[in-house]
Subunit: 457 residues, 2 copies
């Protein structure tokens, strides 16, 4: 069944409607009949329905903002309307949204952004010189010296150069070419763009642990052997806080494995302003670096990106500060370092707190949290609860998370959204709430879990 | 042929590669053979090629950023390298990018954005109180009172309420429901989202003229009769400057046509921060309003939007100021009104200038420009030039625009990108350059055209 879409722009001029594409559906023809029977409602069957819509969109599932999050929104509205619950607020521990949980923005980043936004402030003595210098450099690279102009579809040139310089530093000298850098609307936009070009669906992921160098080598070797295109979501590269671990980029490991790998494995790596110690999710800034991409495919990539014109230029400017922060000797370096250490130090403290408390609870096992901002504890779900879930046509971990939300107001994501091993159950929870609040949250999860085990024993 | 994509997130844990999807292509198998023959290059045939990529992406065409714009970029690089041309700069008259052409941002909008970006400025005496009030209201509606938090996928609540109030005012009281408002990443994002749900491709558009109320009625009646889903790109609603015309929204006309239409015709209308007198393209702010959408489809829409988390929150804040500017009695009203009148007055002057000059040139005909920011002149292309174009495997208007770019540095868009009537030729040019520069541009187009006619006579 086809439907025609009429795209009408202001000033379509004297075009005659009869020259447009059109079609009739049998459902719509039936709808006319319905109209005659019930003229008082004056409403026909709609053209766009679950049956007539794009089935591929209908099939989309996204656990992090799925049914649990919709339910959380409903509960918040009920609380606002004064409906009594066993809790007073919903705690959104489903998504890594640092500033929504009270993390303060990094001052330097916001100073540069404010200067770029309202350049009159460049004359203000209350902004440091290094922030002004950064802002001037970014504005000079923007059309009309303004964040309000479109950028090139691939992103502002000088920002792509800064990203390439950052990657080169990060990887100990492995060169990065600005021509291989694409600025994106957050990392999710880059990933979906590459998947569009690849057609096939993406694999699955797990969170909270840092991959060892050996594990990355295995993945690269496997991709080389099986001729796979490799997508590396490396948005947590600044969030490693366990003293025993460090971040290894896929690109660096690829180069260290020698030319057979570094000249052949096609890789796209993603980073964003949303995670890291910056936590600037709302600006939707990001970049991707592509390695060994065929030049013709790079042309196709730019064409595809150009349809959406450009990523938000304010997000591009934020990305520039993430990859190009103050350095020793600059006026803002001390404050910047203090703020960065504070964010990462707090995350490390909360990671330990979470791991310790979860592992005291019978039926919960939590691996050490080494990086990122999530715990992914494995939970035991009793057989009777599995049956109850099936009676509600829910996956057992979805059932568990829905009950947790309804009874405590805590919103987490069922592990089935992340490809957990068959027969095991997990949930994903952020560790972003402030320490005292996180303690309360963990205590509530503990009480809920013990009660859940008793109820379905 | 299939390719498997491995999505590897930081901390994918001890997952074994053997559990992933995989496939082998015959092309890749051949590539291994090539490798044995030429070990010195150590490069296999790539996995992702024009042949193996998503054919739907390959088929994408977007005239506004197509081959002409790529060529313009090449010429700019050549100019930077000191290569002599008959001109010293490329003038990008292909896209409505007001601030890149020197238009100054509206002060009030940037003040509110700077305050939202760096809330320390809320204590500064150099910002007006009404801008501070707007900024506080927006921040209070953001998670953690920060532009750096994700918003709901549909957009920040209070901004959607402001948009609904704006539409209600604009349409003389026809009600708008905030629940039907979706904030988007510019208008293009909203349009592509709706098209994704509809599957079928969009129609075509022409620009520079304002639709009469009668024309809109005809379109709505046609959509009702043929059961079409109506998309109304209304991003130029603030850009009507001809004294003989005014903007009619599709929604208002729909309601005035009575319940048979207003209860049945499914409509999505789009607006953005990019056009209007604001011209804030880089912030990628926008909204869409949907009318008569099935509740189940609204659920699907939010699900689809949620995969990308949320539109840039800075763009959402900019959208709020576009729909909720200073009003009489507020501190910023006078300056705001002066700036707005200046932008629209300048556009009106340049529209007249463009129309008058083009119509003096033999072989160019230009309709009156009543709104938006473009001229869409019809051009005569001689038979010998059509032959020359065919020899270059180009559409005749593409050939014309490519020559115009190469000889004058002026970058415009061939009319074939906008669905011009068969056998006619046009190009689209913005009227955004400052008046003196626009005069030079128009003179150059005139000289080029006369020369082109002589050359191919």
């Amino acid at each position: 069944m086809q439907r025609a879409a009429a795209l009408v722009r202001r000033g379509c001029g004297p075009r005659t409607p009869s020259s447009w594409g059109r079609s009739q559906s049998s459902a719509a023809a039936e709808a006319s009949a319905v109209l005659k029977v019930r003229p008082e409602r004056s409403r026909r069957e709609r053209i766009l329905t679950l049956e007539s819509m794009n089935p591929q969109v209908k099939a989309v599932e996204y656990a992090v903002r799925g049914p649990i999050v919709l339910k959380a929104g409903e509960i918040e509205l009920e609380l606002q309307r004064g409906i009594k619950k066993p809790f007073t607020e919903v705690i959104r521990a489903n998504i890594g949204d640092a500033q929504a949980m009270g993390q303060q923005p990094i001052t330097f980043l916001r100073q540069v952004m404010a200067l770029c936004t309202y350049p009159n402030l460049l004359d203000s003595p209350s902004f440091p010189e290094d922030a002004k210098k950064r802002a001037r450099r970014i504005l000079q690279a923007c059309g009309g010296n303004s964040l309000g102009s479109y950028s090139a579809s691939q992103g502002v040139n000088c920002i792509r150069e800064d990203v390439a310089a950052y990657i080169t530093r990060r990887d100990g000298g492995v060169p990065a070419d600005p021509d291989n850098i694409y600025l994106t609307t957050g990392a999710s936009d880059g990933i979906s763009t590459i998947l569009k070009i690849l057609v096939s669906g993406g694999g699955k992921s797990r969170t909270g642990q840092v991959q060892s160098r050996k594990c990355i080598e295995d993945v690269i070797h496997f991709a080389w052997e099986e001729k796979l295109f490799l997508l590396a979501d490396e948005v947590y590269q600044d969030n490693v806080y366990s003293p025993d671990c460090r971040f290894h980029s896929f690109k660096k490991v690829l180069y260290e494995m020698g030319p057979e790998y570094s000249s052949n494995v096609e890789l796209a790596s993603f980073h964003s302003t949303s995670k890291g110690y910056m936590g600037e999710c709302g600006y939707r800034g990001g970049y991707m670096e592509v390695i060994n991409l065929h030049p013709e495919i790079k042309g196709q990539l730019v064409k595809l990106l150009s349809v959406r014109l450009c990523p938000p230029v304010s997000g591009q400017a934020a990305m520039d500060i993430v990859v190009n922060p103050p350095v020793a000797g600059e006026e803002s370096f001390e404050q910047f370092s203090r703020e960065k250490e504070s964010v990462l130090g707090n995350l490390a403290k909360k990671a330990k707190l979470t791991e310790d408390l979860f592992n005291q609870v019978p039926g919960i096992h939590c691996n050490p949290l080494q990086g990122a901002m999530y715990a992914f504890p494995r939970i035991f779900i009793p057989a009777k609860a599995v049956e109850a879930a099936q009676a509600h046509q829910m996956a057992p971990d979805m059932f568990y998370c829905m009950k947790l939300l309804e009874e405590t107001g805590i919103c987490v994501v069922p592990g089935s959204g992340f490809g957990q091993r068959e027969g095991t159950y997990h949930f994903r929870m952020t560790i972003l709430p402030p320490v005292e609040k996180l303690k309360t949250v963990l205590q509530k999860v503990k009480d809920f879990h013990i009660n859940f085990l008793e109820k379905y024993a």
